[in-house]
Each structure stands twice: as structure tokens, then as C-alpha cells.
Symmetry: C2
Subunit: 336 residues, 2 copies
């Protein structure tokens, strides 16, 4: 038959009532063995599958995780979030969960989308990406009865001892500390940091790793700022290098800034100046720049572990009830 | 109340039966106006929303489009497919459709995943990416009653006059032809092509654009091959350049190969050799290489247009019934 088989088809072939078929599917213990076998044979013959919507309605589970997909910004570092979504999709799939992606251009639009998904029972859990100081989404989600985990810490709060929600993140400070130790070892003591303007949780965390690694060997270095982007970074670094500032290496908060610094060093007559980026993007690899690899596949595994534990469905531990309410992934320096 | 309101809550507040609430939701014309208004007021007061699973079961529509997410290969050009998925998600969202992503490591695994999604009524339509010669997925999908569109042509078949299925693609030959004309204008007549080994639909199509553009001005140029990858391309191009082969410019089948060629030219003492890539990736932009931009946002718009037309749901035109069974997007050369 060309249409999908229904419960009625199964009932007709097995010579039983609709209700009996339904019983075999939902409460097989109440059906006599001989009848059950006849119904199961009809199900197999026809290739009948209970409609997912019916199963959802019965179980109130969608087996689906919602993930926000940021608008494509054309940048170099967006690839990290894309790798995270890829890895989450693959691992969720292995655990029998589906991934529904949704778009939103602002936190407000994202909350409106989430309200639709939650009200409609479309998702069992949500992964929020790109948290920031004063993020309205996490508080809003905490106030609903929806399990969620954020890729990104609850910045500005006590995120380890008493986290407001489940979170997974990359230890940015550990990454820049490793980058700084590497620069100290191969280049010299004057290691500069090229970071984003102060005030972003992620950026300030990465700066701290550089500062502490330098301080641990009694060193200090200049701190430069640039907005995210190759062009802005290039302009800033070319100006300070041409002004005569001497450094042995530059550790950068992102690969975009590292590429800008690399181009600036070349333009200022210092093509071999060691520069370390963050994100280990294809662009940094193509240019042969060392970079800190975030391991988004481990972040995705951590997010699912927090949401699902070892089980096959969302277990929704609240931070207070759970032994592990966060996963902090140690990044890895890729030296080139 | 902390749980979501149900039909029973609405019925209780409005002082009517469950059946009456259901009638108001599904067949309002059969309900007296005064009763309808009371039920609608109760729905508004409680913030009741019909459960999506129930709506799906009623309409047999999931309002969801399934898209395969390739495993992340770590390459430079994967960003094009990611941009396509981003754009598809945003535009589908604007049309009230959701996007469900699924992972699969082979065409066979993909068909197994699709069978689950289709049997379960999880998706109304599917977008297949990365079609190739003898692709088993499109024939398999054509044999089911499932609307689908492919990003990529039905290679090796008559894809314009009698396409086997809906498809959207980028006119690769037009892109490399534009790149070749640009190279002829700014560099000189000896324009080489660095392509993938013969036999891939996409690669052979891009080579044709170069060959025809050269032929139209009576020119010919060398044709080099490399497997996808910066390192392989660099080795091939460095060898031919060091062997004394003289060219004025190199048009490449991808940005990975273009970056390899760029590094090879630098190593062979020809740092300014004009090189044009394909995909306009952040890596090519960072290196200042010209490249052909695929406009994945237009590809996504084209895919939705084919699946949905101007309507708010999947209309599933079969190629034979539809005026436009394909969309071929003209790419744009970005000169740097």
C-alpha cells in the first residue's frame, strides 16, 4: 500500500479490535499471549510504526533537544559554535535524541522562540550558547520547568560552588596560560596580550590566564585592545610596533585578532614574531599560527552528560540536586 | 499554576465540557457564539496552548524540515554548508517552520535515519546536501511519499529539462568562468587551473567554466590536480613552479587548494602570483585572496521556495507538476 499503515490496518489483518492493538503497543501485559503474537506478526507484516506524535502525546516526551543557531556573522571564529552543534547532533543521535535548531536575532526573540517550543512540548531540554554578563535567558529558563544547560558560565555569579544552572564551558584562562608559557619558553619574557575591550566574561577570563602565567615567572607585558576582527587588530598592532614597542611574542584572545597581529608584524618588518591565537580555526591553521583548541566535541559531550547522565532520556538534574552541575573543559594548545 | 494548563482546566474555568473546548479549537463553527467567547476567554486567561503533539496528530503535519549535518571534517570549506544550514534555519523560522538536524556518517546510515524520521511523521520535508554521481539517497527518497529538495544537482542525469527531483545548486562553471576572466584581465593569458581529481560532478563543472572561458579568448592553460587540502595543493604547485612552469595566474576549485597554491607561490619566490579560490571562506579573506562566493543564503531561499512556494506549508510539487523544479544560483566573484 502506498500510504503508511495504520492501527486499523493492523487490527483488520490480525482480526482484533483497535483497542487490542493499542493494548499490545502500550500495555502488552493485559493481552493474551496468542493474541499478542498475532498482533505483533501483523505489525511486522505491514511495517506499521506508531506515529511519533502519538507516542509524544502518550509520553509527553519529544526526545528532542533545542539549540539556538546564531546568525552567521561571517567571522573566523564562528566555526567553534558550528563544530559544537555538529558534535551535539552526532552524540545526541547516538543516544536516540534529536536536535532541533532555531534562529533568533536577539535574546528577546530567542525567549519568544523558546516559549513557543516549550509551550508546544517540542523539546525536552534546551542548550543555550554564548552566555554573557546579565544574560536574561538563563534566569527566564530557570523560572520555567525546562531542563537546560548553557555553553558558557553564569558570568559574575558563583558558578562553581552554587551555580544557578547547569553549564559547560572551556577553561579560557587555562588556554591562554598554556599559550603564554609556550611563548615564554620559545620567544622571551616580553609577552604581550591582544584582547577584546574589557567587560566580556570570556575575554576577561582569557586575559587572566596570560596575566597569571606571566606573574608566576615575575614577568609583565603590554596589554592591547581591539574589537573582534582582522582589520581592527592589524591596525592596533601595526601602530604599536611601528611606534617602537618591543615584544617577544603576542598571545591573542581569538584567531581573528591573531591573524590581524600576524599581518601587522609582517607589515612592520617582523614576519617571524611568534603569535598565538585562540579557537584553532582553519584560517589559523592555513597561516601556520599556533592556537588554543577549544575541543567543542568535549563540550558537546559534557552538555549531554549534564542533561542526560548515563540514561537514555533527559533526567533534568537541578544544580542543587546534582553531584556535578558543571563541566569545565581544559583546552589544548596546538603548536605550529 | 506551575504546570502547563490543559483542556480540562479550560473546560472547568469556562463551565463547559472537554468536547466543547475541543470543538472551539478544531471546529469553531459548530459552537454557539456565546459559548465560544467564554471558552476563548478561558484560553486567554489560562494561557492555554494546544500541545504540539496533539496538533501534529490532528493535522499529520510536523511543520519541520529535516537537514543532514555532515560530520565536521576540520576543513576550510565546510563553512559553506554551515552557512546554508544557518540561513535555512533563519528563513524557515520566518515561515513558521522548524529545522531538525540529524547526523549520519554514510549514505546508508543517512537513509536509516531518514526512514525513522519519515515513519515517525517527524518531518514534512527533507533537504539533502552534497549529492554525487550515483547518489543512492535521492532515488530512495523519490520512492517514498516524502517531499525533498537537494542542494546539489542530480549529477549525470538531465537535470534541467527532466529533473528527477527538485534541486537547488550553485552554478560552479559560471563562478570559475568569472574567476578566469578576471585573471586574464589583471594577470595575463597563461591561467592555470588547480582542480580535484576528475570524476566529481562539482569539480568537473568548475573546471569546465575555466576551460570554456579560456577557449573563448583562444587560450589554453595547464591543468593540475590535487586532493582537497592545503598541504596536498602546496606540494603539487610548488613542484610544478620549481620545475620552471610559467603561469600568470591560478584559478582553484576550492579555497583550501587556493591557500596551498598561495603558500607554494610564496615558497617558490612568486609571492604576488594572482590566485583565485572558491567558497569565499574566512581563511581566504584573512589571506587577502580573491574567491568565488557561493551565496549560501540564496541557496537556502531557493530550497524553501521550491518546497513551499509562496505558501506557509510544504506544498511538495513533484518536478513534473511544477513550473520551476530547480534553482541555479549565480555565484559572485569577490576580488581582493
Amino acid at each position: 500500500m502506498s500510504r503508511a499503515p495504520t492501527v486499523d490496518d493492523v487490527a483488520r489483518l490480525a482480526g482484533v479490535s483497535r483497542q487490542t492493538v493499542s493494548n499490545v503497543l502500550n500495555t502488552p501485559a493485559v493481552v493474551r499471549a496468542a493474541t499478542r503474537e498475532r498482533v505483533e506478526a501483523a505489525i511486522a507484516d505491514l511495517g506499521y510504526r506508531p506515529h511519533a506524535a502519538a507516542r509524544r502525546l502518550r509520553t509527553r516526551r519529544s526526545s528532542t533537544i533545542g539549540v539556538h543557531l546564531d546568525p552567521y556573522a561571517g567571522g573566523i571564529s564562528g566555526v567553534v559554535l558550528d563544530r559544537f552543534v555538529h558534535a551535539l547532533t552526532e552524540r545526541a543521535s547516538d543516544r536516540g535524541m534529536r536536535v532541533l535548531v532555531y534562529a533568533a536575532r536577539s535574546p528577546e526573540e530567542e525567549m519568544a522562540r523558546l516559549a513557543d517550543l516549550l509551550d508546544g512540548g517540542e523539546v525536552d531540554a534546551v542548550v543555550v550558547t554564548g552566555t554573557f554578563h546579565g544574560d536574561p535567558r538563563t534566569g527566564w529558563l530557570s523560572g520555567r520547568d525546562m531542563p537546560f544547560v548553557s555553553f558558557g558560565r553564569p558570568w559574575g555569579e558563583d558558578d562553581v560552588e552554587a551555580p544557578a544552572h547547569l553549564w559547560v564551558d572551556v577553561d579560557g584562562a587555562a588556554g591562554t596560560a598554556a599559550a603564554t608559557r609556550h611563548a615564554l619558553a620559545v620567544a622571551g619574557p616580553r609577552v604581550a596580550f591582544l584582547g577584546w575591550p574589557e567587560g566580556s566574561g570570556t575575554g576577561d577570563d582569557r586575559e587572566r590566564g596570560w596575566r597569571e602565567a606571566l606573574a608566576s615567572v615575575g614577568g609583565r607585558g603590554p596589554r592591547w585592545y581591539a574589537e573582534e576582527g582582522v582589520g581592527t587588530a592589524r591596525a592596533v598592532v601595526e601602530r604599536v610596533l611601528r611606534a617602537g614597542e618591543e615584544v617577544d611574542a603576542i598571545v591573542c584572545v581569538s584567531d581573528s585578532l591573531a591573524i590581524g597581529a600576524h599581518l601587522a608584524a609582517g607589515a612592520a618588518g617582523l614576519p617571524g614574531l611568534p603569535i598565538v591565537g585562540f579557537d584553532n580555526t582553519p584560517a589559523a591553521e592555513a597561516l601556520g599560527l599556533s592556537s588554543v583548541e577549544q575541543l567543542p566535541e568535549r563540550v558537546a559531550a559534557g552538555a549531554l552528560e549534564l542533561l542526560m547522565g548515563a540514561t537514555g532520556s533527559v533526567v533534568a538534574p537541578r544544580p542543587a540536586e546534582s553531584g556535578s552541575a558543571h563541566v569545565l573543559v581544559e583546552p589544548r594548545l596546538v603548536v605550529r
